[in-house]
């Protein structure tokens, strides 16, 4: 027994040593390591895999840890780049000793998915869905929901609201939108990566996008918010929402692009640097066809990198904003508008070789 465990330890140790040796063996390969946001992970992993296949000498690894963890890794310089749904705030930018270039590379929509037996399509007016998420409306047959859905048989049951248990960029974008359009929501819940949801038996929390999807799927009378990509992948029913212009729209590439079209990048540079500020939020997009809840997601790249890494990074960014955008649609993300692609290409030049 004793010698067996010893043997196992030895074997494990040997494997570890061999593992280190073998990675050291491929030292001529350029490795870019990143971590961060989990929402763009499906598309990032496809991009990075395809990109690495095309370039034998470059390998890109990305770990979906969450935006906050990505920013922390970036500041602690354990990764070459990071991904974040909430960009970086001014304080975090100051903490990053090696400077940062923030590039929006893809965008997504947050959608409301629900579980109501026999209800194929559901319309939620602009004054109703914030009230559902602040607990003001608690029954499915509430007159305000019924009014927007004539002919739909709504059950006399409680609404179970499913929200994220982990702190997340998706929640940040979603609560940002709700706070923008509804003052009660802003005061009682507010914007945050993990805000104070009402304390009620009707609010349950689940981890990650898949957790919410599974919980909504299994809970009759529930509603939750997830990324459009996940809803598309799992074929969950999605509610139509009323946008700023008063139209009911469905999520999709067109309504997503329409939302991004109203995004305006702030004038000026990131604090303490020459890099233009690309942190644009569209918490309440205008436009007749715009989906109301959309957001960019950013890559965080140092301003100075070793020569080979900088070159590889430039190739990667170029790949993402050209080839990469072509698959965005099919994966449930919004392709970047042409003018944004141009801006990103320009700003990416601020990543320089040491």
């Amino acid at each position: 027994m004793r010698s067996k465990t010893l043997q196992q330890t030895l074997v494990a140790g040997l494997c570890l040593v061999l593992g280190t040796l073998s990675t050291a063996g491929f030292a001529e390969e350029v490795r870019l390591q990143g971590s961060g946001a989990s929402f763009p992970f499906p598309i990032y992993s496809k991009w990075f895999r395809d990109f690495s296949e095309k370039h034998d000498d470059i390998r890109v690894d990305y770990q979906a840890k969450g935006s906050g963890a990505g920013i922390r890794d970036y500041i602690n310089e354990v990764v070459d780049f990071a991904g974040s749904d909430a960009a970086m705030n001014d304080e975090e930018i100051k903490d990053a000793k090696r400077g940062v270039v923030l590039l929006p590379v893809t965008a997504g929509e947050v959608v409301l998915t629900y579980n109501l037996d026999g209800v194929k399509s559901l319309k939620l007016p602009r004054d109703v869905y914030p009230d559902i998420f602040s607990g003001k409306i608690s029954k499915w047959n509430d007159p305000r929901i019924a009014k927007a859905n004539p002919g739909v048989k709504l059950p006399d049951s409680d609404i179970t609201v499913v929200v994220r248990s982990d702190s997340s960029g998706t929640t940040y974008v979603f609560t940002g939108h709700l706070s923008e359009i509804n003052d009660t929501f802003k005061q009682e819940v507010g914007q945050g990566k993990a805000p104070q949801w009402p304390k009620s038996n009707r609010f349950v929390k689940s981890p990650k996008n898949d957790g919410i999807t599974a919980t909504v799927k299994q809970t009759p009378g529930s509603i939750g918010y997830i990324e459009y990509g996940y809803a598309k992948l799992t074929k969950m029913p999605v509610a139509m929402l009323e946008n700023k212009s008063g139209n009911f729209v469905s999520p999709g590439p067109e309504s997503g692009s329409a939302a991004l079209a109203s995004a305006e990048f702030p004038a000026g540079n990131l604090p303490g640097s020459e890099v233009p500020d690309l942190r644009a939020w569209v918490f309440d997009p205008a436009g007749a066809k715009a989906w109301p809840i959309a957001s960019f997601t950013w890559l965080l790249i140092p301003q100075e990198m070793p020569k080979e890494k900088a070159e590889a990074m430039h190739k990667l960014v170029e790949y993402s904003i050209t080839e990469g955008q072509k698959i965005a649609d099919s994966m449930g993300y919004i392709p970047l508008p042409e003018n944004v692609v141009e801006t990103v290409r320009d700003v990416a030049k601020h990543v320089k070789a040491k």
């Binding site: 935006s67 997340s168 529930s222």
Partner: protein, 325 residues
């Protein structure tokens, strides 16, 4: 007559040979190795406590004891308190202990007291122990897709007919305390059952024969003789099971609903310390990480107190039922 009759018995290959220098050496080496390993375990525990403690220090000095009584966890406003989590941890674990404990001990009696033939009992025991090999996340998924839909009508019925009892004051929307506690009970079942089986098997056969000889029935023998005699082992099983329930993370994060509230109802969503740690860590800010470390210390202390209490009860029953000092 000069030949020593013991000579060939004392050959270096015989078991009765005096220990050689190498034997002494190996013996002392083994002793030292064992001591080092034992010492390392204590050192490791101390190191973990120290490391988490030093990381949690800023939060401890900032929030003090109010942290344990606070009911809000809000990273954006830097307000942290873990009372609902402590409540949820203890509530779910105690429920699991009651259900899993009763089931586990019953199974142990069933397997050891000649209800089954030896072979069938071994197969049964293996199956129960296999439950321990199922990963936590699988239990979580099973809970979401099988257990919750099964529980929902039962919970609804209990809520409509008995809602004056605080335990049933809400109905089950989806995740909640009841499915979490049930899954926990199944998860601790193998631990409780396996150790209780060992405890019951350790009782000398004479004890049972003596009981029968005094004219007890089978049930009297089991309840009045066997169980008290094995009580210290069974208690150890329960303490271990409870410890496992306190620290269980993944299945609970998926099933308990992660809602920071204190509610007596079995069907309301709740939260536990381990689940809070797992779900908040990845995106936590600086101060929140300190607060999470503080929460980890609270969990460690909770487990420690439970274990010490278990040991104390075990000592007491040993003295009372087994006549040991």
């Amino acid at each position: 007559m000069s030949a020593n009759p013991f000579k060939d018995k004392a050959s270096p290959h015989s078991a009765s040979a005096p220990p050689s220098a190498a034997d002494y050496w190996a013996d002392s080496l083994f002793r030292k190795l064992a001591m080092t390993c034992a010492g390392l375990i204590i050192a490791l525990l101390a190191y973990i406590l120290l490391e988490i403690g030093s990381q949690a220090m800023p939060a401890i000095s900032e929030y003090g004891i109010g942290f344990v009584g606070g009911t809000t966890w809000d990273g954006s406003r830097d307000e942290f308190g873990v009372l609902p989590e402590i409540w949820g941890t203890l509530y779910s674990s105690i429920l699991a202990l009651i259900i899993g404990g009763i089931m586990g001990v019953t199974i142990a009696i069933f397997l050891t007291q000649e209800f089954l033939s030896q072979k069938v009992a071994t197969v049964f025991r293996l199956i129960v122990e296999l439950l321990a090999a199922i990963p936590s996340v699988v239990y979580g998924l099973w809970g979401i897709y099988v257990l919750i839909p099964m529980l929902r009508p039962v919970a609804g019925w209990l809520h409509t007919h008995f809602d004056f009892i605080p335990l049933f004051s809400t109905d089950l929307s989806g995740p909640g305390l009841a499915p979490a506690a049930l899954v926990l009970a199944i998860m601790i079942l193998p631990t409780v059952a396996a150790i209780s089986v060992d405890a019951l098997k350790r009782i000398p056969y004479k004890v049972k024969e003596a009981a029968y000889g005094m004219g007890t029935t089978r049930w009297e023998a089991i309840l009045k003789v066997m169980l008290p005699t094995a009580s210290s082992g069974i208690l150890a099983a329960l303490v271990l099971g409870f410890g496992r329930a306190l620290g269980e993370t993944m299945a609970l994060a998926m099933l308990i609903g992660n809602s920071n509230q204190i509610n007596l109802s079995l069907f309301a969503p709740a939260n536990t310390l381990a689940s809070l740690l797992a779900s908040s860590f990845p995106e936590a800010g600086d101060l929140e990480i300190r607060a999470l470390m503080y929460a980890a210390i609270v969990l460690l202390l909770l487990t420690f107190v439970v274990n010490v209490m278990g040991l104390a009860i075990q000592q007491y029953t040993m003295r009372k039922f087994e006549g040991k000092k």
